[in-house]
């Protein structure tokens, strides 16, 4: 093999010999211009959209307050909670105008005193959403898996309300559970 870089009989001073020298020669040959008999070319567009990293923050707690233990369904309106109730707020931030998918738990089990064997209730979330920080003007009944478009400032707002199924003679005391929400670029 001769490519002009390693003449016959050349003994490199840094001790590369034999097979290793041949590999160097092949690698170097790949760098040389090739005089081809025919040429063809084509192009392909490579596109990419650079997006900001997504963030989802939460403030507050969804709290039903006090209610009695007869069989009924207790509710919190996510856009207008009643006095004594509160709603947690989630804020998504990312690239302005981008669409993000919103996913959250279908139900959450609330446990008495954090010990589920003492008593449970089932919480069904109702999430209201808005591109602006305006709870009263938000739209309830957001479906998990749906997409929303971040505002011009790159934000979107969610409020967590929902309903709680209370059984007859539900054990009295404090109940709690954890609701999870996640977002991703569409």
């Amino acid at each position: 093999m001769s490519c002009g870089l390693a003449p016959a009989g050349y003994k490199p001073a840094f001790g590369v010999t034999g097979t290793r020298r041949h590999l160097l020669a092949v690698g170097a040959a790949a760098l040389l211009p090739i005089a081809a008999g025919g040429q063809a070319s084509s192009t392909a567009d490579v596109r990419a959209t650079v997006v900001s990293s997504l963030a989802l923050t939460r403030t507050g707690t969804t709290d039903f307050g006090y209610f009695e233990n007869h069989a009924h369904v207790e509710t919190i309106s996510p856009s207008s909670p009643a006095p004594g109730q509160s709603t947690a707020q989630f804020i998504a931030s990312g690239t302005p105008g981008a669409f993000v998918l919103v996913s959250f738990d279908a139900t959450v089990t609330l446990c008495a005193a954090a010990v589920c064997s003492l008593g449970t209730m089932t919480f069904t979330p109702n999430v209201a959403s808005s591109p602006s920080d305006n709870q009263a003007g938000s739209t309830a009944n957001l479906t998990s898996g749906s997409a929303v478009q971040l505002s011009a400032s790159g934000s979107y707002f969610f409020w967590l309300g929902g309903s709680l199924t209370v059984n007859a003679n539900q054990k009295t005391g404090a109940y709690s559970g954890t609701f999870s929400m996640s977002i991703s670029y569409q």
Partner: protein
Amino acid sequence: MSRTWLLIMVGGLVGLVPQPSLAQAAASATVRARVKPAPEPPTPPNSPVALPPVVPGAGREALEIFTLDVAGSPLMRLFVCPSDTRTADESRAACLWRVGEDASGQRSQPPPEPQQITVRWADFPQWPAFLAISGAARAGRVPPGHYVAYLTIIAEY
């Protein structure tokens, strides 16, 4: 192995470690609720009282801490019966009662403290929709007073 190769290998391994994606995010919130007892229905002395409905279920059901206030009533017997078969007939197995009588059926003195009453209800395949509670007095046996009975009704089947 030279230090250079070692650094290259370490660099390659670091590149293989999954990094959290910047294209998704998650957060969670606590959901809280506090359950308090429903207000108890008024219980005029010596009159039947309808309890809240009891949901039938397999196994063992319990309805706890139902307070029966028998103010001014010299309560001697307390009857707990299904509302559709309510009767003062003590012979009915369906009606269970308790007053603090001794084995002879005599009662020496009124209960000094609120009484915990446990009624076991094993004769029914399921709970009746309502129970009725009534008190009966024996004249001259117990002085008038204010008595409170805490009921624990247990169904076993």
